[in-house]
């Protein structure tokens, strides 16, 4: 019963800022740099390539590094691969971020309610979550996009709808453990309302794991987007990386670069997000961090 203070008492000075911890993680820094480049590409695309990335600017199948105007070559219709990559960055980021946000918007309140209220509410919400977790998620995403007919928004919705259950489960678990935390009980005892307690005491303290999960979800969403686009379920008006790989696969033998470049870019972006996620995890959840 007597809770002795841990072996090495966490003296106040020992606590270092999460930012510093994050930046000490070499992978995280690399990830951040790559992600910054992707964001820059998305922002600069309309300036560097003001014309539509769909425009046929050269003869088809120009190999990369041969023409200065199209450094990464052209695709089967003579469109500039570099322009496509730049413009596609925006789509990938938007899909990744918005669908993750949407999943959080669904998942966090449900998880918080289930975890905090417990009992029947918890039971009902968990059964509901289970429903979505039981249906294979990629299959469900495909069906959803097919139902809504492919477009940017339907893709975002579909990705959000298949990716919220883990958020709910995570938040529920965190809230469940936070609910019995003494400072939450203290808030109850001091007569604060349930809503205030959730907003002020509970949710802010679930933030770190949610941030970590969210960074990984963005990565997964970008992969999902590319997979759906690859199957031809993307928005035909938006140039996206997955679309480029899908469109290029039929000619992969003649023109490897059409598939290779967007594939590599997807890989790097997802990799970057994962590295950032790991860095965040180490910085925000020191308990789980790697061997000292």
């Amino acid at each position: 019963m007597n809770n002795a203070v841990p072996l090495s008492a966490p003296a106040p000075a020992r606590r270092r800022g999460p930012l510093a911890a994050f930046l000490r993680h070499p992978g995280a820094v690399i990830g951040l740099v790559i992600l910054a480049l992707v964001v820059a590409a998305a922002l600069l695309a309309p300036i560097l390539y003001p014309t539509s990335p769909w425009r046929m600017v050269q003869r088809p199948f120009v190999p990369p590094f041969t023409l200065e105007r199209v450094p990464l070559g052209t695709d089967a219709l003579g469109r500039d691969i570099a322009a496509g990559l730049m413009h596609g960055a925006g789509v990938s980021l938007i899909v990744g971020l918005v669908s993750t946000l949407a999943a959080l918007v669904i998942g966090v309140p449900l998880g918080a309610l289930a975890g905090y209220l417990g009992g029947r509410v918890d039971d009902a919400l968990m059964r509901f979550t289970e429903l979505f977790q039981t249906v294979p998620s990629f299959a469900l995403a495909i069906v959803l996009v097919a139902i809504l007919q492919p477009s940017l928004s339907s893709m975002i919705l579909a990705i959000a709808l298949v990716s919220w259950p883990p958020v709910t489960r995570l938040v529920r678990g965190e809230v469940l453990s936070l609910r019995s935390r003494e400072y939450v009980q203290a808030a109850i005892v001091t007569g604060q309302t349930t809503f205030t307690i959730l907003r002020r005491e509970v949710l802010p303290n679930t933030l770190s794991p949610i941030v970590v999960l969210a960074s990984l979800m963005v990565a997964t969403a970008i992969l999902l987007e590319s997979s759906l686009s690859f199957l031809g379920l993307g928005d035909p008006n938006r140039m996206s990386w997955g679309f480029m790989v899908g469109a290029g696969r039929t000619v992969i033998r003649q023109a490897w670069w059409i598939t290779a470049f967007p594939g590599v870019v997807i890989l790097l972006t997802v990799l970057a997000l994962n590295l950032i996620g790991e860095g965040l995890n180490d910085a925000l959840n020191p308990r789980l961090s790697r061997e000292r």
């Binding site: 019963m1 007597n2 809770n3 002795a4 203070v5 841990p6 072996l7 090495s8 008492a9 966490p10 003296a11 106040p12 000075a13 020992r14 606590r15 935390r181 003494e182 400072y183 009980q185 203290a186 808030a187 109850i188 005892v189 001091t190 007569g191 604060q192 309302t193 205030t196 002020r200 005491e201 802010p204 303290n205 061997e291 000292r292």
Partner: protein
């Protein structure tokens, strides 16, 4: 004492262990020397951060990677342990020096049977056949007093109680008859009656086998109970060393004296009897936890409160003591309406707290406030201290500036600088945090304070300060207090009356003086007998 007769098992000389750069001090342990002698128990005493556990781990070669020995020797026979390679260390561990740990709950592999974990000891050192190992495991289990040794070796750790697990750990440590046993706070996590049994077991085994024991503890009661010699550590340095009787009886170093004086005595001060109006009246409180169960399985029922009834008079401190699982914390939470009772009433003056719902309950809560056990878990790490204290008043309609002003006054009242308002909990020590927690509870100007193990997690010197503060505030503000603790010494010091709980029931309730002088219920007696250091103190 005749030095020739002392057989030195381990000689530690000038041991210094370096902490990683950037910590609050350079060395965890600084120039420590001591001998472990066969047939003798050396107690290493100190508060948290004194480096006592590091010494123990250094002896086993189990220091954290970041902590390095920078000087000194640890001689076991002819070898300096600090200089040996991994293989030699493996040979030393378990066979020549064995160790038991603080947390019996986590120190055993949850997926292995107890007997297998004991047998592993022999396996690790290539002794005996598997069959013989099993037989020895049973014998060891019997030796440490585990019930039904044949059966218990086939059990998994979770099927054992805390005390049984610690016995199993001890059995394991003794398996290869090591010359030296290192025990790192082995009874800290145990209930007081269990603690007494384990201490006795260690003492007996040590005598029977003539082992040298290094016993790490923070509890002077335990020291009094078990030590032959005592070594007091502070900030990694030896403050005082000597035979137990000498150190406890005639401490030389001022620090030792401070520590010893901070240990509450078992003699309750005489307090005037109180019979004012009732601040809180608890009637027929019932609570049973139902876990598991369903269509095909009978649920498990645990009684947390069985017909609990008591009254708390205005200005009185009522102690609720008991071991873990006795239901004392549940009663505290029932009184606070943090959990719902199955039956019974909690009356706060004229108000029946158990009847209130929603907004009415929220309003009524300001009248009864709580101080929590864990200074690290009871403050929201993401809110400033000022807001933590002010949140309550704000929730009851006080404007934020006024509430902050009140917080400033309260910080002053609990002995903290007003600058603390802007800072965050992690910047404070455990004792300071507990003061913040008290300030938070007082912010609503309650009539009743419920303190749930409010000083249990604190070092003894800090504990004394916080107790004094509580006592002082209670008198000054005219509060009534329900004080929940497992520590009878603490209860003796602060309580007017004490209720002893067991399995959800109050078995005895009387004034502190009467309870200690004349315990009636056998359980109360057992509890009092088990308090470490009591015998020696009485002697």
């Amino acid at each position: 004492m005749d030095t020739d007769a002392r057989r030195i098992a381990v000689a530690v000389r000038d041991l210094s262990l370096a902490l990683p750069a950037g910590g609050d001090r350079a060395n965890a342990v600084d120039g420590v020397s001591f001998d472990l002698v066969a047939g003798e128990i050396l107690c290493l005493v100190g508060e948290s951060g004194s480096g006592k556990s590091m010494c123990a781990h250094a002896l086993m070669g189990l220091l954290p990677k970041a902590v390095r020995p920078v000087s000194g020797t640890i001689r076991l026979g002819d070898t300096d342990l600090l200089g040996q390679d991994d293989a030699a260390w493996r040979d030393t561990r378990g066979r020549r020096i064995a160790m038991i740990f603080q947390e019996p709950m986590t120190a055993l592999n949850p997926l292995m049977r107890i007997g297998d974990q004991m047998a592993e000891m022999f396996e690790a050192h290539g002794q005996l056949t598997p069959k013989e190992r099993r037989a020895r495991a049973v014998a060891l289990a019997r030796e440490v007093g585990l019930p039904e040794p044949e059966r218990i070796v086939r059990a998994y750790p979770h099927q054992l109680s805390g005390g049984q697990r610690q016995r199993a750990m001890i059995a394991m440590a003794l398996a290869l008859e090591p010359a030296v046993l290192v025990a790192d706070e082995p009874t800290t996590a145990l209930d007081v009656t269990t603690q007494a049994q384990i201490l006795k077991l260690i003492r007996d085994l040590q005598r029977r086998r003539n082992m040298a024991v290094l016993f790490i503890t923070h509890d002077f009661g335990v020291v009094a109970e078990i030590a032959d010699r005592v070594l007091v550590l502070r900030h990694g340095r030896v403050v005082e060393e000597g035979p137990a009787a000498a150190v406890l009886g005639r401490p030389q170093a001022p620090y030792t004296r401070t520590l010893l004086s901070a240990v509450p005595t078992m003699d309750p001060p005489t307090r005037p009897p109180l019979s004012g109006p009732k601040a809180v009246e608890v009637v027929g409180l019932q609570k049973t936890y139902v876990t598991g169960g369903g269509l095909w399985r009978a649920p498990r029922r645990t009684a947390a409160a069985r017909d609990v009834a008591f009254a708390l008079h205005r200005g009185e401190t009522l102690g609720l003591v008991g071991e873990s699982g006795s239901g004392k914390s549940s009663v505290a939470r029932l009184v606070m309406r943090l959990i719902e009772p199955d039956a019974g009433q909690v009356r706060l003056g004229d108000t029946d707290l158990t009847r209130l719902r929603g907004e009415a309950l929220r309003q009524a809560r300001s009248r009864i406030q709580m101080v929590f056990q864990d200074p690290f878990a009871s403050l929201n790490p993401r809110r400033s201290v000022g807001r933590i204290i002010a949140d309550g008043p704000v929730a009851h309609g006080v404007s934020l500036p006024d509430a902050m002003e009140r917080a400033r006054r309260l910080l002053d009242l609990v002995g903290l600088d007003a600058k603390a308002l802007e800072r965050f909990p992690h910047e404070f020590s455990g004792g300071q945090r507990q003061r913040i927690g008290i300030a938070r509870a007082l912010a609503l100007e309650p009539e009743v304070l419920v303190a749930d193990e409010a000083v249990s997690a604190l070092d003894v010197s800090v504990q004394a300060q916080v107790l004094a503060l509580l006592e002082d505030l209670k008198t000054r503000l005219g509060l009534s207090m329900l004080f929940i603790t497992h520590d009878l010494r603490v209860a003796a010091q602060i309580c007017d009356r004490i209720a002893v709980m067991r399995q959800g029931e109050i078995v005895e309730l009387k004034t502190a003086g009467a309870l200690f002088a004349n315990p009636e219920h056998p359980y109360t007696r057992a509890l009092l007998d088990a308090v470490p250091g009591r015998v020696r103190q009485a002697a």
